[in-house]
């Protein structure tokens, strides 16, 4: 098991190198001179020259990459052009809303997706099953940002139950914080809930056909126990994969959702920085989000190895 985890850790090295390359070359992708692009339309030639020197753009590309990545590894992601603060500080100040939004959305998708999938599988071909699966198909197809827009229209503009946009820090007022996040989290999490419900249903159906389920029933175990104790744990593995993938989708989706609900998180920072071409912030935020994503996937994989004895034992052969 340790060997497997070590191998998984080593496989991160090339991934992180490629991630670094991509983020570094983002500014070199832009047509024309990055310094001119960053300085803006009204900049003088001297200002562009000065910026080019400051950014080290007059040095060879590989040298720029090495110095950029060593600085990034030390946590120095440069300074924002607009915010007058280090990129890492700017990201740090906005991490709470994004983290909580992703977490709430994940919890909601699990709380909705699991029971829905289990009930649909147990009551296969009933109206509950059909209703759940049609809703799930709708949930997969409705873009989360548009769902968010509709929820604002109905729940905030018309019914006035929830605030349309904004944020309250968790430590100031956890309840108010939740009121601000419940709509974004629901609109973000519904799609994952739908995916999860579909996967849980199909893997439950598969497991319910297994011999040990029949054995459990034959020896007179109550149906509820059969479902929860015998079938469900074995149907968990595909669901775990989906939950692992969810984290990435939710992190990405949070960027768009934050824009809809005006949540002051990392996602809105990225979008604002794109619109004002604040490249150090774009690079820094993309790097941090990708690193978190890679880390989450790593944790999921390790949890996987620990949870599933078939994977754990296969390394010995």
């Amino acid at each position: 098991m340790t060997g497997q985890i070590v191998r998984r850790l080593l496989s991160l090295v090339p991934v992180l190198v490629v991630v670094g390359f991509v983020v570094f070359f983002l500014i070199h992708l832009a047509p024309g001179d990055p310094a001119a692009v960053m300085a803006g339309n009204e900049a003088t030639t001297e200002r562009i020259e000065q910026l080019r020197h400051e950014m080290g753009l007059d040095r060879p590309l590989w040298e720029q990459f090495v110095s950029w990545s060593t600085r990034a590894l030390r946590g120095d992601l440069g300074t924002s052009f607009f915010l007058n603060q280090p990129v890492l500080t700017a990201i740090g100040e906005r991490i709470e809303p994004t983290g909580l939004l992703t977490l709430y959305a994940l919890i909601m998708s699990i709380l909705i997706g699991f029971p829905a999938g289990i009930v649909a599988a147990v009551r296969r071909n009933s109206w509950i099953d059909r209703l759940t699966m049609v809703t799930a198909l709708g949930g997969v197809c409705i873009p989360s940002f548009w769902l968010g827009i509709l929820m604002i229209l109905v729940l905030a503009v018309w019914a006035r139950w929830l605030p349309a946009a904004g944020y309250a820090p968790f430590l100031d007022d956890p309840l108010q914080n939740f009121r601000y996040l419940v709509m974004p989290a629901f609109s973000l999490g519904l799609q994952q809930a739908a995916l999860l419900a579909r996967v849980v249903r199909s893997s439950m159906l598969e497991v319910m056909r297994e011999d040990y389920v029949r054995t459990a029933r034959a020896k007179g175990v109550a149906e509820g126990m059969v479902v929860l104790r015998h079938a469900l744990p074995n149907a968990m593995i595909p669901a775990l994969t989906i939950i692992g993938n969810s984290m990435g989708n939710l992190l990405g989706g949070a960027i768009v959702t934050e824009a809809v609900f005006n949540t002051p998180g990392v996602g809105r920072l990225v979008v604002q920085s794109v619109l004002r071409r604040d490249f150090p912030v774009i690079q820094g935020a993309v790097l941090v989000i990708a690193a978190v994503y890679v880390l989450v996937n790593l944790i999921v994989d390790i949890a996987y190895v620990i949870a599933d004895p078939r994977i754990r034992l296969s390394t010995r052969s």
């Binding site: 873009p143 940002f145 229209l153 989706g253």
Partner: protein, 296 residues
């Protein structure tokens, strides 16, 4: 040489499917979801091509006297903040969105499949290609698209480039996995023995046998690309704002949501219908092209 049971099984399936090469089309036509989905996509595409000329309104013409009118017989979906007909713009948006989705699907499939075929068939470059693909997949997809758009600038062509970069690693990974199975099959072995060149084997013998999952993945890529284009445009980092797309219309409509909900409801409904159609078509293709599911 020893064959795994799985490989032998797929040889039999290969023989069976050749005797009824278009059997899957028949299966597809029996799948009501796929027929509805395909119909929705075709109708939206046709409406996108001719629809804007049929409504009697101009996509771009500003009419200050008729701003923010609710739905009526003249304007079935109302008018926007500049007095333009929302229905005409929604139909025009179908053209742009489906074009971006189609182009993304075609380019990411061609490039992704080529990379996957090479990686799967040539062990020397396998590690190199796939580690790069892994690196690209380490970004949440919409984030990578936004980052690429940030440096390329908002243009329709750039949206296609950005989304192609986002989706091609997934296709490469899928294709590589399939190639690893197919390359061990007897007819590939036979082609190698009679001295067929590597490109000939890859494109003439391997590719035709992995086309089914590629088609299925293509239809889902189309759906993802349509959503992503709308998200990018909504954020202001996609198709230039002066071109009517569903995402751009939502971008304009949301601030006016309380006064003119039709400006955001109708483009969003059409977007959801398009994605639903593509997903139904993809589900149907998967069921009719995948022999393992057929047998159940």
């Amino acid at each position: 040489m020893a064959q795994t049971p799985a490989a032998q099984n797929s040889i039999h399936q290969g023989i069976r499917s050749r005797s009824s090469q278009f059997h899957w089309l028949w299966l597809l036509s029996k799948d009501s979801g796929a027929v509805i989905g395909g119909g929705v996509v075709v109708i939206l595409a046709l409406l996108g091509i001719v629809g804007p000329y049929l409504t009697g309104w101009d996509v771009m013409k500003v009419d200050p006297n008729n701003r923010l009118l609710g739905p009526s017989l003249q304007h079935l979906m109302g008018t926007d903040g500049f007095g333009r007909d929302v229905l005409t713009r929604v139909l025009f948006g179908a053209r742009i969105s489906l074009l971006v989705g189609l182009a993304t699907m075609v380019f990411s499939t061609i490039i992704g499949a080529t990379l996957g075929l090479i990686a799967g068939y040539v062990p020397k470059v396998d590690g190199f290609i796939m580690r790069i693909m892994d690196g690209f997949m380490a970004f949440p997809s919409i984030l990578l698209a936004i980052a690429i758009m940030a440096s390329l600038g908002p243009r329709t062509e750039n949206v296609i480039v950005a989304l192609t970069v986002v989706y091609l690693p997934r296709i490469a990974r899928l294709v590589r996995g399939q190639v690893l199975v197919v390359r061990e099959l007897l007819y590939v072995e036979a082609a190698r023995v009679v001295g067929a060149g590597i490109w000939r084997i890859i494109f003439l013998h391997v590719l035709p046998n992995i086309i089914s999952p590629l088609i299925v993945q293509g239809s889902f890529t189309f759906a993802f690309a349509v959503i992503s284009e709308a998200s990018l445009s909504y954020l202001g980092a996609g198709v230039p704002p002066e071109i009517p797309t569903w995402g751009n219309m939502l971008h304009e409509g949301v601030p006016l949501m309380a006064a003119a909900p039709w400006m955001s409801v109708f483009p969003g409904v059409t977007l959801a219908i398009a994605v639903l159609g593509l997903n139904l078509l993809g589900d149907g293709l998967r069921d009719s092209l995948d022999p393992r599911i057929q047998e159940h």
